[in-house]
Symmetry: D2
């Protein structure tokens, strides 16, 4: 029987845990005597033929590093007919049987398009925002909320020392997972997420109420999809005598040595992807469902709800009384 | 209607996330107008009447601290008839309706005994070992595996620089959860857990094989329930030319600022415990089941399997090829 | 002999290491049987009589916390005649012999004004910017450059993965110490400081040159006193095809558990301040000179050069080739 | 004029900051058009001819990694006449003009022996113990005391929660620098160093006295050169009712991403070594003297006192009252 050839790439925003997934795909595949080709810079590399043979030591010493050793890109050209055609041609010329794509929503769209063109693909979900349909977890999320937590712990020192309202702006254009979960983890008094409209007057009342009760500093966490931190600060300044200070965490949230959970789930998802390929179960997302990793066909991913649990926003405000 | 009075204590080994659970119990209870009494030093404090009234600001600023602000102890006296009787008497004298116990297996046994004596109790699972029946998660585990991961990342620098086998001894007398999950997270070549007998000869063959293939250093993680790190080292020295160096992580594994996950689950479990009490659902463990927190009666906890997934041990060795 | 009464306050921006200095002043003073009064919120507290008796356990468990347990403020009112008068009156009414002020340049100006009004003072230098005359070190600097280093290490993961120029904006309105030292520590390719004019064209040439030589990402560190990170980014975008991403570290730089060095120097300076008081050597700055702590009279502080060593900027660019 | 050829190696125990020094030597040398040869595994590599050409990108991305990319070893063979002869021969065959050695006391002895045999050498001091004559600082020390501080901060959580005496055993066979400085940084109640005899009875009295005054936990730091932590624990158990718990930090202390200070001093010392070579100033130690880096001839290193400042031990006990 002919040995399968698989290609692996990372695409979209980088996320901690991608390296654990790469390592797991490569070594599990080699263990089962598959050939593995690494593609640099995501779909860009697929179009440009930026390929390299992956051996066991190609992935040595990478599990504790953030980002992705295969590098990543957001390719506009791959969305054109010409670019897509070049990618398909390269895949065929190199006799690649399956492409393993590690990335988020946009990357899965690319994989799905390849599948529709007859190229088998498998997706491992990875984006710090956790805003992908079809899976309860995406690699990088746990590291990102821990990074935010550590940053807020530092900012709290200063907020306490100056009796201040500290506003923390975190990532999340369309989904509030990061703000919500990091907010609960750090005991934020107020959490603003795109899924729920906010009322600046009641926020100000809350701050005042807390202050009068003796709470001398507070943390307000806002997802960038709601507003910028400085807009929120301006609104508070216009209504109260507080002088909130804003920190925009920015790219800091993307990096860092992966958390244990991201390395564990990355390893498990990478191994599961290879198992799935060995069973000829392709064109699917490696999905976390109630703690188990299962393969979900692309067509079915939207059947799984993965929205924010908004009751946690209320919990956060109760716990901050 | 009379307001319920609840008492809260932490017992057994301390675990990061206990403070998040204390904060959640106290504030959620106050939000619902319950009275909350803090008991210092676990069952010791229950016997000695070491009580304090908990207000909202009793739990201010504690969520990012490891350990437990209520302190903890392993009480031998509480296991005696006399000690137990004193505890029951104190509970009745203070008109406490429910005792919330945050702790591990032994602490749950104490709570169960109180329940059998007619005192309502609720348990929030907390032990870094994750070796409790009836729940898939115990507070402190995630922080502990991250602490181990960070320590191993440091030790790897030295192991790499000296081409060395590094042996890491971690906690886990009866269960291998910590060693197994931390081992996968840090890419350990070999993981020894109490649930699976080990063969020193095949370990040595593995080390030799790796070395000959060009792997210049490796990590062997061993749960204390298997053997001490130095016994394993001696066995390797007797059979090979390697000179492994041993690190015993010890009490380091217990402390540290809680991870985001421990603070989130601690907050959710604390709130769930109060909800459960409000519904008169007592004498039960707040249990993590497939990502949800549910109340499980003490009598039923043993029905839920929570053993180690030994297939992960094999996965670790495949991923380390 | 009458026991001396000393007061202690922290003023201006908070800095890690302030708590170690507070602890050292309090305990060393108690050891020598002095009385110690804590003043909350800096000169504000001096005016408002916001005083508390400091005992040994007032400073227990604070050495590993950032910020200042005495809180701090930037008081405008203290600069008025009326405010200053109230402070002097409170000091006299409480029979305070010496005021120990922990803070930066502005705080030292306040202490000097008190001295001129006949109130003995001693200053312990503390500001993350290290921009004080008369001392080679100010508490908080070492922690701050380590905080920046850790942040940049995370940002590098993403910059590497995306082949990006990362611009990091750090504190430093008038002095480039933070940018320069943190820049060298993290291996930044380019460091912009207020002390040296920059040439955007040669920066762009440097980036291009590095890129052509195969350097796929680079770090540009800029002190806020030079420009905002986004202005620099705009200038680069206008001249090249790079798309730099900006991170403004902001208040993150102020907080965090103090580094070993800040705790050691804070402890030594706090003890030295008490020794100085016992010798009636007051109205002086506890100054770091070539590794030793010496008392320098306020009038002489400007004699000690503490400017940035600009040759390090050139070193950074040589080491980044 | 002929271009100088320099070789660079790291020897003895690894220390964070070695990579910054390697990077600085290589890039500064290339900037001045010297040729640089990397020697793997210290003097072992010198004997075995394990050489590689160092280019600018040989040292890319290494500054934030602990350990040494050139690897290190403790060579017994180099101390034999035959081994030494092979090393000298290799150096001559490769026409190496100067050997830059990064390491501790033993490594300097090797360099000195080479110098006596007519091979020019320069030493950059690096050992976490800081026990080298002739210099006030050795690379790795600052990172190591920060690593110890972070570990103790975690252990304090548990010690506080259980009202415990925690004993921390740290490195330092002959010198107490690490124990003393880390002990002050973490606020240890008791610090035992090889330079000062200890009295177990007065230690026990101190613990009891603290406990009676309300101090519910304490930290005792002991350098391995004094005794093992468990021997101290046994002595305390024999004399009091305390049950101290011991943590041996071990190899953890050697690794980790370098602190800002180690990277800054490593960079400066590396550059200074090249400057020294360019000036034909060889056979000397790059020495830290009062904050400046100066070249000290091997013969003169013993003239500079670098012993432990034992007054700091007393300071620690005063600050822990």
């Amino acid at each position: 029987m002919k040995k399968k050839r698989i290609a692996i790439l990372t695409s979209g925003g980088d996320a901690p845990g991608m390296n654990a997934a790469i390592r797991a795909v490569v070594r599990k595949a080699l263990y089962h005597h598959l050939n593995v080709i690494g593609v640099n810079r995501g779909y860009e590399g697929l179009m440009n033929g930026d390929f390299c043979k992956m051996k066991s030591d190609s992935v040595a010493g990478i599990i504790n590093r953030g980002g992705t050793v295969l590098k990543t890109a957001r390719s506009q050209q791959f969305k054109t007919e010409e670019g897509f055609g070049k990618a398909v041609q390269n895949i065929k010329e190199h006799k690649i049987d399956v492409v393993v794509v590690i990335g988020g929503d946009g990357s899965m769209a690319g994989a799905q398009k390849l599948s529709e063109a007859g190229i088998s693909t498998v997706v491992i979900p990875a984006t710090i925002d956790r805003d992908m349909p079809g899976t309860e977890y995406t690699l990088g999320f746990d590291t990102a909320i821990n990074t935010i937590l550590e940053a807020v712990n530092k900012i709290k020192d200063t907020a306490f020392s100056h009796d201040r309202v500290a506003i923390i702006e975190v990532m999340g254009r369309h989904a509030g997972h990061l703000a919500l979960m990091a907010g609960i983890a750090c005991g934020a008094e107020t959490i603003l997420i795109p899924e729920v409209a906010y009322n600046i007057d009641s926020i100000c009342e809350g701050l005042l109420h807390s202050y009068n009760r003796g709470k001398q500093y507070s943390i307000l966490m806002v997802a960038e999809g709601v507003s910028t931190g400085s807009e929120i600060a301006d609104q508070i300044v216009a209504r109260t005598s507080f002088s909130p200070k804003v920190t925009v965490l920015g790219y800091l949230q993307r990096g860092g040595a992966p958390s244990a959970m991201d390395n564990i789930i990355g390893s498990r998802m990478g191994a599961a992807a290879v198992d799935s390929i060995l069973l000829n179960q392709v064109d699917c997302l490696m999905s976390m469902q109630h703690g188990n990793i299962v393969a979900v066909q692309y067509k079915q991913v939207t059947e799984y709800k993965t929205g924010v649990d908004c009751s946690l926003q209320e919990l956060a405000s109760i716990l901050a009384i």
